[in-house]
């Protein structure tokens, strides 16, 4: 067993790695894909933060964050398709 600090650090590093594609990506959809993955990873990070601070209210924050990220990605996808 390694400990919760190590997991938090590893997930944060994974988020930073996906930031590389946000800055580098040649097309707009590349950046959108990277942002989608980054928000998914960040939702998991928020759930882990709830355990770290021993507060259950952070789980609600993670749920609302996931819902808003989903709506944003769908809106951007419709915009890229030209349907918005």
């Amino acid at each position: 067993m390694i400990g919760i600090n190590v997991y938090l650090a590893l997930i944060a590093i994974a988020t930073l790695l996906s930031m590389y594609r946000v800055f580098r990506g040649p097309t707009t959809v590349d950046r959108l894909v990277a942002v989608d993955i980054m928000t998914t990873i960040t939702a998991g990070l928020m759930v882990l933060f709830a355990l770290y601070y021993e507060r259950m209210i952070f789980l609600d924050v993670a749920l609302v964050y996931a819902i808003l990220a989903f709506g944003g990605v769908i809106a951007f996808a419709r915009y890229m398709e030209g349907g918005l």
């Binding site: 988020t15 989608d36 990873i41 998991g44 259950m56 789980l59 749920l63 996808a77």
Partner: protein, 135 residues
Amino acid sequence: MNALTALGEVLVLIGTFFYFLSALGLIRMPDVYNRMQTSTKSATLGSLGVIIGVGIWALGTDFGSAAWLTKTVVIAVFLLLTNPISAHALIRAAYKSGIPLWEGSVMDKYREHIEAKAKALEAAESETPEEGGEE
């Protein structure tokens, strides 16, 4: 450390590993379709591991209650349902906005589908006036 804590920690470790695989696929793969293919699936599985792992881990601690597991299962099911939808919408937008496939790709089923559909529509349109003329 009891059994619930150990089980939750193992699940969180597996989820973290899959998060890493997803970020790696995002960096490594050659075009947007391959990137979406590798990273979305592993990010969904990693979220399931981390989120349900936290719920089980909290059950084993002294501050944890059953509400932790309930809320984490709600978040996990929501992510499991919405992640494929957003990936599908994004990749359809990428195809419709004309991003080319990687030169090593060997198959394009969506284009075959569109062409077959257009051909069927053309055939149907050319048949109808002939029938009308005969009558």
